[in-house]
Symmetry: D2
Subunit: 369 residues, 4 copies
């Protein structure tokens, strides 16, 4: 990670010895996981728990009696001992809550996706840059040990040139009125692809269907084309017989299967194509050699713990998290484009990433340490 020039004086910065004062806003589906991990981190002091629902506040106050609870985010933002705000609310509230927190001088960690549009995501990034605050988005898979193991293989050239990637993320989950499956599940795959490839797709095409709720796609097949020639196909669905989170990378030297739910989450296939001389004119044969398969040992650290430790560490050491902000902005762009393509019957949508592409490439070595 790049360490920029020392940041300007910051009244809110805690001395490194004391725990970082943190507030969590939103205790719905994912917030309790964030809260649990924060509470276990000795470098963190959870000072506020904020949610609109009184029953939830009662429940979590019982479990974390050291924190104060409130339904008023203003009280949280007004507390000078709060250095960072963790936002785990519905997507349509991300922008307003994050912007207010940044304006109040807080570092912000917001659940994925960063914002409900690329314009708003860019706005937040600009605001964070102006205020010298960290803006990080919860693309937790980037901290997942199997995802990192694949990243190391890619950087080491183990797979050779990547030809294509095929991914399925299908699930039975909650369904919200204002969010398609692309907004819900797409950020997982798109963040993983951006992290692995350090490259942004140039065009996106998607077809899907709003099987259950009119206007909300609950299944989508998203195709991404990259300037390097790589093709990626991502199946996203809330309607599936069983949960599946499986990505196949096919390279010129080897193939990898990353299966997030499997006991062997990464499997490396030492098989490739072997050219064979044509036997007769008009025929041309290739034979494929099927070779060894390796399931490397993968650490079992919890990705969310690693991610929040990185966020807290960056606050303490005054590091920028430029890769993360660029990644989060790119993800919103891809989601937005895929969602538009589905609504327009599969039309090709080009992506303009402006300055983000070079930022992603700058951080190519991220997380290989």
């Amino acid at each position: 990670m790049l360490k920029p020039a020392p940041s300007p004086a910051d009244d809110h910065a805690a001395p490194t010895a004391a725990p970082v004062g943190v507030a969590i806003v939103g205790l719905g589906y994912w917030g309790p996981n964030l809260l649990r991990v924060l509470a276990d981190n000795p470098d963190v002091e959870v000072r506020w728990i904020c949610d609109l629902d009184h029953d939830r506040l009662t429940k979590y106050r019982r479990r974390y009696p050291a924190a104060r609870v409130t339904t008023q985010v203003e009280r949280v933002l007004a507390d000078p001992r709060i250095e960072a705000v963790i936002i785990a609310t519905p997507v349509h509230t991300h922008y307003e809550l994050a912007a207010r927190a940044l304006e109040a001088g807080k570092h912000v960690f917001v659940e994925k996706p960063l914002a409900p549009s690329s314009e708003l995501a860019d706005d937040l990034a600009g605001l964070a840059r102006e205020r010298h605050r960290i803006l990080m988005c919860g693309h937790t898979f980037v901290y997942s040990p199997p995802v990192r193991a694949v990243k190391r293989m890619l950087e080491a050239g183990t797979l050779g040139d990547i030809y294509f990637i095929s991914s399925s993320r299908v699930n039975l989950g909650l369904h919200q009125r204002d969010v398609s499956v692309i907004w819900d599940l797409g950020p997982h795959d798109f963040s993983i692809l951006l992290y692995w490839l350090s490259e942004i797709p140039t065009t996106v095409r998607a077809i899907g269907r709003d099987s259950i709720v009119k206007g909300i796609a609950d299944v989508a097949f998203v195709s991404l084309s990259f300037a390097s020639g790589i093709v990626a196909n991502v199946e996203l669905s809330w309607l599936a017989p069983s949960k599946l989170r499986r990505t196949v990378l096919v390279g010129s030297e080897r193939m990898v299967v990353y299966d997030d739910g499997a006991s062997e989450p990464v499997r490396l296939f030492d098989s490739g194509v072997v050219y064979r001389d044509p036997e007769t004119f008009g025929e041309y044969h290739l034979s494929y050699r099927s070779g060894d398969i390796l399931s490397p040992k993968i650490e079992s650290d919890e990705p969310l713990g690693l991610e929040l430790a990185d966020f807290v560490g960056a606050i303490r050491t005054e590091q920028e998290m430029g890769f993360h902000t660029a990644l989060a902005r790119s993800v919103v762009r891809i989601v937005e484009a895929a969602d538009r393509s589905v609504r327009e019957g599969g039309r090709e949508v080009s992506l303009d990433h402006g300055d983000i592409g070079s930022q992603l490439a700058d951080y190519r070595e991220f997380a290989l340490a």
Copy 2:
């Protein structure tokens, strides 16, 4: 199956008591399987084995000494005791061989795909109709017991309305200079979909990549849209870490997974969406109930045996095989459209099926007996 008016006098028709005289042309990859099954069928007499390769002829003469061998297809076609010709040669030779056999008054069974273009496929169908000969294409999966089990579920309404279908057929196989993976593997999925749905897609989109041999796509993601609203996505690839032939059908009542290589090839999921009242304004939740899963018993008959028995039976009883001809023509149209879409960067290609659609629908009840 429809039984048409009695066919006109036919000099070549054998009395039902005697076995049907058959020739096989092409002993490459798939031909030997056809030969084995024909040799075991007591209603068939394999009289000729024809291939351009002398070593192959020597090998199969040893195994089937009762048949004559030749490199000259003319000798086969000139034999009046040959009623049917089985063609298992490379795709680019299908049209010429099938046309010559039909013109010689033979019934024809040709390996899939029927012809290398829809025009030639239509020509063959016209020729067969004129000559009152059966023209059948080896879409063997239509005879596969698991595929038929799913067909019965569809006809019985077990799945409710179909929302979408997601299929993967990935494999490590032979690679030929003049045929993309869409021509090679696509006919399997497309024939199954046509058989299940009795409906032809209206548009096709596909993206892919020619990773190994320039100009020959070895991976493709094909999207089919149907007038009924069904969306199907088919992944086809010669480059995969392991063989997979898996199709998921998601319906309003139940879901089915058909996995051709699995010990339980059909699994029926009694899970669906349950609506739940929104808890608060702005939120809208669906909960998904995960229910029982059933793996019905599937017969273990060999599809190829069933298919060739059907072909021979149709010859003996002078039945038309109109469904099969319509299916084979439709498959060629879809393959052709998908191949064009890949070459044109994923452009949408509309399908004009002319009279085929109604023919497919007429045979909706096929194979449910």
Copy 3:
């Protein structure tokens, strides 16, 4: 569950409205899970956390600030607001701690196995009876939804008569100097078998090996014979390439596979033997019909939560937990016998269960509500 005559006056009994005051003793491997579940139960007030290790106490005080911590079990037992003590210490300390707690008038929940010998287990049971206290042992699998689903099938006659049971419980876990794999993993299988069959084996045979630590078997194959003719074979091992917890029950009507780690933990096989007439003298054929397979929906409740809720509920409603005490005593007998058989080279060991057998049978209907 049987509700006995009202228990005698009990100074320590809390009014049903107030939470039950509980202490937990032992925060090693399993204790933290008990603590988490107790802390989430609104009918429980965790008043004391007791462990010999100061670091652990510090860690859990941070997480559960409402509880007091101590290294002195005397302080716990002297607190009149403690109604129940939860013991999760090493096996060799179970007897002394449980006995002292019962003598102090507390209800006791002790991790499995109940005691390091059947004599001491019987002693504890006697002490609990005398003092009118509940003595429950943490055979958590008896509360596991898949185990209960199989129990319901057995009681409903779905499987017919049980012919045999084959179980594997292999694992990579901690290894202690004074406990063989039979003492460590055996209680899981033995408690499940006792619960399912409501019958105690008459003889036990086991062979094993002390591969790593001299004198401590780390693998054992235990065979149990029941008076009803049922045979059960249980493989227990700390040395296995991957975790497996799989039990197969073969009955005259159907078979069941219970796989604790699988996404479909219970699978019911509608396959059985079909008699076929002998074709010729001297030959006798049976054909086996392979039929449908059903994976019933299984609830996802946490067994530990159900178990502790049952314990607390029994305290509040002054119920006896006779089945649990009988089960726990039986388990210790089987473990003891299997351990002796391994040490004596596989010798058959007979089991004398005294009054326990009839107690188990009395509670046959347990947990079917």
Copy 4:
């Protein structure tokens, strides 16, 4: 393989250029596979097909018109151009048929098990030795590529010292009046174990049950103890929800899972035990490190083809097949002992192998070329 001194003059020995004249006796369950493989072997001429059933003879004459058919084994044995007889009849006929063939000067390949008792097996071996004929038993798994891959690992020390072996071979198959599941399925596992370990067990214990047919065990759990300390447990059953052929070898360095029906039949687990210092007196911890897993590429040659080619090659080159005869005799001893143990309620049965043990050890290097 050892090549002995040149064998004495042999009137029946064919010149190496001509194919070996072979007869097959018994076309029931397994015979047709032998026949198919023999017919495809260019070094073999199948001259006779012999079975008591006329319909079978008719069927196979059609498929293999070059061979003569008969119900009279005398005609086969009287044919001087027959060098070898392949016997695939029911077990109780093995001895008489093999003895007559050896006495007629033929080499003999007999399906497993070699004979219905160890006395008769020894008799056959003696007869073969006297007559300088090859006597080989169809323990085909010894030629299976995955079994050989494990053998190479064992010889290379990849696994370290073997601690124990756990095997399951469960199946839904035919059931005969006079043969228990131990006689039917046991030879597979026992031959594999003998081949791998080059060591004969000293004691056998087995429990089982005759669930369906009185007196015929259809399930058995067989425990084998070896002088080297290795313990093996083999589960054999005709009554199982699904076919399973899985063997786990646990060694001091690595573990292997051999799963005959899996797409990855051999998986090598780089995981072992790591000693950790005791934290406190009275406690002793080991931690287990879970490491990489490797699925080596396994050749896909058909074991039966390799086996019969070896048999035919030995005839042509006048080699002894001493390892095979010793293996087959050992297998019968183990089966006999396990069957007796089941009938005697699990009693330990000692094995006396006489001269066989040293013969097995002599051929330790067998099949590693």
